[in-house]
Symmetry: C3
């Protein structure tokens, strides 16, 4: 396993992306994987107290990949970002395993103080392109968020959230996932 | 004419962008034109079977321009992207002639399989900033899509789509185009 | 003071961003400050008639920072952009003092002619992530715009605008600012 979990992430990318090809191509060309792997190093640096270095590394990866992950954010295993340009993940965000975000997603803060001020996402959460999840809200496992939705409130496991502000539309089983147009 | 249609695209940029200046300035500084010209090469590589090379070129242009066009996408003549940061165009997208996209637009997929899963846009379609068009939907000629709209269903020619999910608001003639606030 | 107001902007960044740390770290790693400082030079070049150079500088900063500010735009003091990827500010935009934009915000045009065609923002306006403000609309002082909102009409001072198209939801005092979930 190790710190970076590179092999696991590449296998995961193949499952998520129907346009994906060989492992080497993925490892070299998926800049969103580079952003996640770098974050795992930055997060270790952050926890070890090397905060300016961690911040600088995070900003450098934003330049290289268009994905901005604050080094304080806690991200689970097989975390996957597709396309990724414009993603912003705030300092006190907490994300479970097997979560997938599309480009333009924000896990943003709403309090101007050094407290828990960013979202908490359960396992297998799927967030559509351009969606903004704001404040210390908690989304349960298997929650799906529609494209461009603005999420401001907690949601229980299994819910699909769409709209501005986002509201639940249905409870869907994982098997129904491919049909949720909003979610991708 | 040739593969790249550079002269035609520059003349087209001048028509679209009231802030545009001389041809040399446009050719050198419009990174969205660079993205489109590179895509025409990547698409030829893709069709010729050089898929990893085409993918790598596409990702490199995403880094340089903020525009991500899958090399499999089929784009018409005088295709123009303004500003462009965050644009994502999926593998099985098909786009007619004289189409214009603003920054943050997604032509995205909704099926996790190697089938037709991205949108088809007619001629002279105009898509506002941040709009997401998702799944194998078909938009007719002269369709206009408002900023931040989320389009999930087919639309006939001449319709203007706004909202989340997007709904038609009016049929407008090309002469009325400059007044459509949503569309730009 | 001088042209760039670097010290003032760094102090301002500390006030806005609870994740901010030392001044040197801010000056080196906040690419949105680099974009604003460069714009102040580009704007001087623009006014002096060096328009191709100003445009080229603006596009180069778009590449470096993900923030695209047309050199003709007039921005007030302590203008602050947080995160910034995908921000687009058009040529005839006018912005007051102490304005803050999040990433993905557009101050966009709706007329295809060289007239005033971009927004005018008052002092202390706050614009949430992904919001699009389109056309020569005027927003008063202390206006707040929600994430992903699409603003198409004028608004008086103190109003909070949310939705697509955006509508006023409440008049809020500056002291209530941290509670406005939409705005960040």
């Amino acid at each position: 396993m190790g710190l970076l979990n590179i092999r696991e992430d590449i296998e995961n990318a193949k499952r998520h992306d129907p346009a994906a090809h060989g492992s080497v191509t993925i490892a070299l060309t998926y800049s969103t994987l580079h952003a996640v792997w770098a974050h795992r190093i930055h997060h270790r640096l952050w926890l070890a107290g090397a905060r300016p270095l961690a911040r600088a590394g995070s900003q450098w990866m934003r330049f290289l990949t268009g994905v901005e992950i604050h080094p304080g954010a806690r991200l689970g295993r097989r975390f996957f970002i597709d396309h990724g340009m414009g993603v912003v993940i705030g300092e006190t965000s907490e994300v479970g395993d097997d979560v997938m975000l599309y480009h333009g997603v924000t896990l943003g803060g709403t309090a101007n103080a050094a407290v828990k001020r960013h979202p908490t996402l359960g396992h297998r959460v799927l967030v559509g392109a351009g969606a903004k999840i704001l404040g210390p809200v908690a989304l349960g496992d298997d929650v799906k968020v529609g494209a461009n939705a603005v999420v401001l409130h907690d949601a229980p496991s299994g819910v699909t959230l769409v709209g501005m502000p986002a509201k639940p539309v249905a409870h869907l089983s994982p098997a129904e996932l491919p049909q949720i147009e909003y979610s991708i």
